[in-house]
Amino acid sequence: MKKYLLFFRLGLAVELAYPVDFIGYVFTTLFVHLTRFLFLNGVFDLTSTLEGWTRRDVMVAFIFSVLLSSVVDSFTPSIRTFVRYAHTGRLEPYLVQPLDARWVMIARWIRPGSLFIFAIIAPIAMLTLSNLNVHPTLLQAVGGLFALVIGAIVNIAVMATWSLTTLVSKRDLPTEFIFRQVMRLNQLPPSLFGYKALTALVIFLPIVLTSTVPAMVVARGEYFLLAPMLGAAVLVMILFMISFRMTMRVFDGSGG
């Protein structure tokens, strides 16, 4: 465990060694969230509801997506660096270290700076929730938090699994870009997909529901997607383990 905590300290040290980059990163991330906020606001200037979801419900989902991405973004640089090293044939030194290679992929190059954004956003989020007249019961609050944790696990596992394709194809697939594009669907109310599509999404693409499911629990008191999402999280983790083992067997370390 100590070794893995070291990753965190190392990441923080790297982040603080480049203060301008760090401040720039914080401002850029806040700008990203602002643009999405303005977009959703713009859509709700044209209509009062989106398939039963009001502006308030969508804003709660937006708040959860901000919290979620600030957790997931800490792990993204690690996955990206792992893949880049694999692509350029420099991964071996890290694989022979007495560490679990899966954790090396997910956490060795962690950049915990985005957790700083989480710390800024979390109190603002609480305040906004009460301004939006969202007063969750204890059950809703616990359910929402649980859904958020599931969401983070799903996102990290899916991004890592997709990134493994580089180890087999030896090509630098723009996984992160594709991931971010797919994540845009998180802005839509799940009801807009229809029941059949929603079932397919939970099974095949649960990442597009990771910030709306906590909002469903907290803002609307709807719990029916919580259990399927838990199942999806277990499924994507198993899929990651299997894919990791299989790709490591094929991976020859020569780069591409």
Binding site: Y18, F27, T28, T29, F39, G42, L46, T47, L173, R184
Partner: protein, 272 residues
């Protein structure tokens, strides 16, 4: 006997050909990129706008475009957003500076910024395939009048928009020479392109106070201006957009050239 001096075009053509060939070789990635990165944002807009235009909302006018025009607007702007994407321009320079591997590129006869321009335009040839696909649907499904004056202007606008994308991205990439690590510059570039470019909402649907900014910023002329021009088939708009796009392309070209010179004076090649 000395070798004949190559023209600029002859010298830079291999960079463009290599960039295009690399993408064609990695066609699996290109297809995955196209299907996920292009169709998913479209799907999102499709679901929203199909809902907004149906039922009670239809009485409200969302600007000047019909539902099919709106959907084509999004299809084109998302495809242009993918074509005019300066991510690689910034990340390649940033990586070279950070790893101290810029020198071999600087020694070549073609100036480095022009190598990268040729490289970018070469890749653009392949990334124009999604636009051609959307164009085929747009032109043949509801028959569009083929106005001979419109098309050359529009094609020119697309080419100039690519040059603008490069000069703007190169200007952003210059930050690497000062800051070394430019991860945030990359996300700033992609987010600004998606937001200011008009991929989220057309400029006229933003609140009044944001409209001038959304209509005349450089990202808009990289992404949604060619899309709006073709959907509305407005020749006058093509000319206006062409003037703005050229202006921004030249302005960012001059700025990046100045920054490149200043940056090269302080570049030490040690990495970071």
């Amino acid at each position: 006997m000395s070798r004949p001096r190559l023209t600029f075009l002859e010298s830079s053509l291999p960079y463009a050909v290599n960039a295009a060939r690399l993408i064609v070789m990695d066609r699996g990635m290109f297809v995955a990129d196209f299907f996920l990165a292009t169709t998913v944002p479209f799907l999102m807009q499709f679901l929203i706008w199909s809902y907004l235009y149906q039922g009670s909302s239809i009485s409200r006018s969302f600007g000047v475009l019909s539902l099919s025009q709106t959907l084509f607007y999004y299809a084109f702007s998302i495809a242009f957003g993918r074509l005019n994407n300066g991510y690689d321009v910034v990340s390649n320079l940033s990586l070279n500076v950070r790893e101290g591997t810029l020198e071999p590129h600087l020694l070549r006869p073609v100036p480095y910024p022009l190598q990268k321009l040729a490289d970018f335009m070469g890749g653009g040839v392949v990334y124009s395939v999604p636009i051609i696909l959307v164009l085929a649907v747009f032109v043949f499904i509801p028959p569009v009048a083929l106005n001979s004056f419109f098309w050359p202007g529009w094609v020119l606008l697309v080419v100039v928009s690519q040059i603008l994308c490069f000069t703007l991205s190169w200007t952003v990439a210059m930050m690497s020479l000062w800051l070394v690590r430019t991860d945030f510059a990359l996300s700033l570039l992609t987010t600004s392109a998606a937001f200011f470019g008009g991929e989220l909402l057309p400029p006229y649907l933003w609140p009044e106070w944001l409209r001038p900014l959304m209509s005349y910023n450089p990202f808009r002329f990289m992404i949604s201006a060619p899309a709006q021009a073709i959907v509305t088939m407005d020749g006058g708009f093509v000319m206006t957009a062409l003037a703005w796009t050229s202006f921004y392309a030249i302005a960012f070209g001059c700025l990046s050239a100045f920054l490149w010179r200043q940056g090269m004076k302080r570049y030490r090649g040690a990495g970071g």
